[in-house]
């Protein structure tokens, strides 16, 4: 036989091992639990997690001014803002928030517009039926279309009110003259976006509105066949500017397709570029104009003679 001591030791070892299995599991579990608790405590502050840090790069809500600034500066969506602004500029009565709301409505319109595109074919055969389908069969289709329509109208209103405020506060003055011009272009693009969308349901309302609208193009001086000097330049209903807009001499399938492409791709693309310039220039021109300290009439300097 083997050494009894060894056997004893073995059995003793077995015994301790057997005993220890439960204990060890218990101990292990409690150790694991403690560790999990410790780690969970670390997760208690989401801003300390690797995931958070990887996304946001800095913590946002610290009272530390550096972090507050970094929250703006290191965020792609917020970096158009300055880190700090005039303390009175956040008061609603000064800006009315109309510029920002206009931009938000553009985003809402892009979002609902893309969803609408899933259900819409810009053809004479399908367009009207697609709207009926959208209104009656697509889940929330009616809500989607309504929201796109009303957001578009609201965007026209907010654009006008934004311009109105800019005039009242004299914010178009030096050095913001050029940005005002960019804004006027954006106004035109907003109206054109709305107008091109009007034809898309291919119903009587859109058809006649666009017919009336494009009939004016017939009379464009030197570009339309009924306009001043149009006939003298050899223009007819088949080669003038209206023909180019409609892709034909009447509002028909080509007009629908052109309208669709301008509405969904052409104008949004151009408008986005102008918007980028508009927002960038706000920063470059020194942020929003006020509320600025008043200047007195007696302090107005004479124009410098060069």
């Amino acid at each position: 036989m083997d050494d009894p001591k060894e056997t004893k030791q073995l059995t003793a070892g077995d015994e301790t091992d057997n005993k220890g299995l439960v204990t060890r599991v218990k101990e292990g579990t409690s150790a694991l639990k403690d560790r999990a608790m410790d780690e969970a405590k670390e997760y208690k502050d989401p801003q300390e997690t690797q995931l958070w840090k990887s996304i946001f790069r800095v913590s946002h809500d610290r009272s530390d001014p550096r972090n507050r600034s970094l929250a703006i500066l290191s965020n792609v969506f917020l970096h158009l803002h300055p880190a700090k602004i005039n303390r009175d500029a956040v008061r609603y009565p000064f800006t009315w928030g109309m510029g920002g709301i206009t931009f938000y409505l553009f985003i809402v319109l892009t979002f609902t517009g893309v969803l609408l595109m899933f259900y819409y074919h810009p053809t004479k055969a399908d367009a009207f039926r697609d709207i009926l389908y959208l209104e009656h069969d697509v889940p929330f289709g009616k809500l989607l279309r309504n929201m796109h329509r009303w957001a578009a109208h609201l965007m026209v209103i907010t654009t006008w009110l934004h311009m109105f405020r800019v005039v009242l506060t004299g914010s178009y003055k030096r050095p913001r003259e050029f940005n005002w011009c960019v804004g006027v272009v954006l106004l035109v693009l907003t109206l054109l976006l709305s107008f091109t969308g009007y034809l898309l349901p291919d119903d009587q309302l859109g058809f006649w509105a666009v017919t009336v609208g494009t009939n004016m193009a017939r009379a464009t001086p030197m570009l339309g066949h009924e306009g001043p000097f149009g006939a003298q330049l050899g223009l007819t209903a088949y080669n003038d500017v209206r023909f180019g807009l409609l892709g034909g001499s009447i509002v028909d399938s080509n007009a629908l397709l052109r309208s669709y492409i301008w509405h969904c791709i052409g104008i949004p693309l151009v408008a986005s570029i102008f918007m980028a310039v508009h927002f960038w220039r706000i920063r470059k021109d020194g942020g929003i104009s006020g509320p600025a300290p008043v200047v007195l009439e007696s302090e107005m300097k004479a124009v410098k003679k060069k």
């Binding site: 109208h153 003259e177 859109g206």
Partner: protein
């Protein structure tokens, strides 16, 4: 003398009287309801409330600033130490705030509110959908979307090439020119009326005209683009006999014209020359009118002794800063749009005049 009677109460009473008189004369409330409750007209109905509201909001701040400016002008010592805003400020307060969170939270709140408004609007009102497009069945009235009704209404007063192409282009270019012709350096970044009287009146007049044309196009123009007062029934069988005549014909055939022997004005080339003179005269008179408006001191106008052209010293200083190019550019846009539009509107609606200048190539 007049000033004593013009206060907010008399204005309110007069407005109420007008509304009351109009309400008594409304024959067809249903028609009015049909027009203003059409889903596509809701935005312009909203504008009728939003524009006065925001005007009030702006004017309120402007008046507060103007009071501050007045007190600082009167007290140069205070002007040196004052923080120069009506918003409160105490020493020790930071002049600037962190955008995170103080601005971002306002923006977030705004998006939430706009989203809620949009949802409620979209649940309660359906986007219009008419019959399928049918080129053989003309809609009557056939109207553009409300924001283009101003242009469509202009078609009544001008030929399509002016109303549809030239006017919109002039308006857009004019808007872009606005900052470059406004030579007044004051009022940059704060609401004020007294420092920017002329610029604000000019822009306000343009904005008001635009809204007014849209309101006419929306509420007043019925089938056949015929003028129906708000509250009148839209009669689809109504026919209006156009009695519009050209200005030269009107003068040539009038008793006044005949006694003076002006019958030749009805023929070429005299009608061309006559129109040219009328339009040139309009630009000259219009220019003089705006020039007067630019520098006049309304408070000093009196009839006994006759003083119609008293100058405002501050406005004159602004005019001195204006270059000739700025001045002429402004005059061109002001006379061509701000004045020509209401003048043509009155000529057409009240005096049934169609064209003032008839040429072989274009008519105005």
């Amino acid at each position: 003398m007049m000033r004593r009677f013009i206060n907010k109460w008399t204005v309110l009473i007069v407005l109420l009287l007008i509304v009351g008189l109009w309400a008594i004369n409304v024959h067809d409330w249903h028609q009015l309801w049909v027009i203003s409750s059409t889903p596509d007209n809701i935005p312009i109905v909203a504008m009728l409330l939003l524009v006065p509201f925001f005007t009030w909001m702006g004017v309120k701040q402007a008046v507060a600033n103007d009071r501050l400016i007045e007190s600082l002008e009167a007290d140069p010592k205070l002007a040196k130490t004052h923080h120069r805003k009506v918003e409160p400020w105490r020493p020790g307060w930071a002049r600037e705030l962190h955008v995170w969170p103080y601005l971002v939270r306002v923006e977030f709140l705004a998006t939430v509110i706009v989203t809620v408004v949009l949802f409620i609007w979209s649940i309660t009102l359906n986007a219009p959908l008419e019959e399928p497009a049918n080129p053989n069945l003309t809609m009557n009235p056939s109207k553009a979307p409300w924001y283009f009704l101003g242009l469509q209404e202009m078609l009544v007063y001008f030929d399509p090439w002016i109303a549809g192409v030239v006017m919109p282009s002039i308006i857009m270019v004019g808007l872009m020119a606005f900052p470059y012709v406004d030579s007044n350096p004051l009022g940059n970044g704060y609401y004020t009326l007294r420092q920017r009287r002329f610029a604000l009146w000019m822009f306000g007049a343009g904005f008001l005209q635009w809204i007014l044309l849209i309101v006419i196009g929306t509420f007043i123009r019925g089938p056949g683009w015929i003028w129906f007062w708000p509250g009148q029934t839209w009669d689809h069988n109504a026919v209006v006999f156009d009695k519009n005549v050209d200005l030269h014909d009107m003068i040539a055939t009038s008793r006044f014209g005949k006694t003076l022997g002006l019958g030749f004005l009805a023929h070429d080339p005299f009608k061309f020359l006559f129109g040219l003179i009328v339009v040139t005269g309009f630009y000259i008179v219009g220019g003089l009118f705006f020039h007067w408006l630019m520098t006049v001191d309304f408070k000093k106008i009196s009839f006994r002794p006759l003083r119609l052209f008293p100058k405002n010293e501050f406005e004159q200083r602004i005019l001195q800063r204006t270059s000739i190019l700025q001045y002429l550019t402004f005059q061109f846009f002001a006379v061509s749009v701000l004045l020509a539009l209401p003048v043509k509107l009155i000529l057409r609606l009240a005096l049934t005049i169609k064209y003032v200048w008839v040429t072989p190539w274009f008519n105005i």
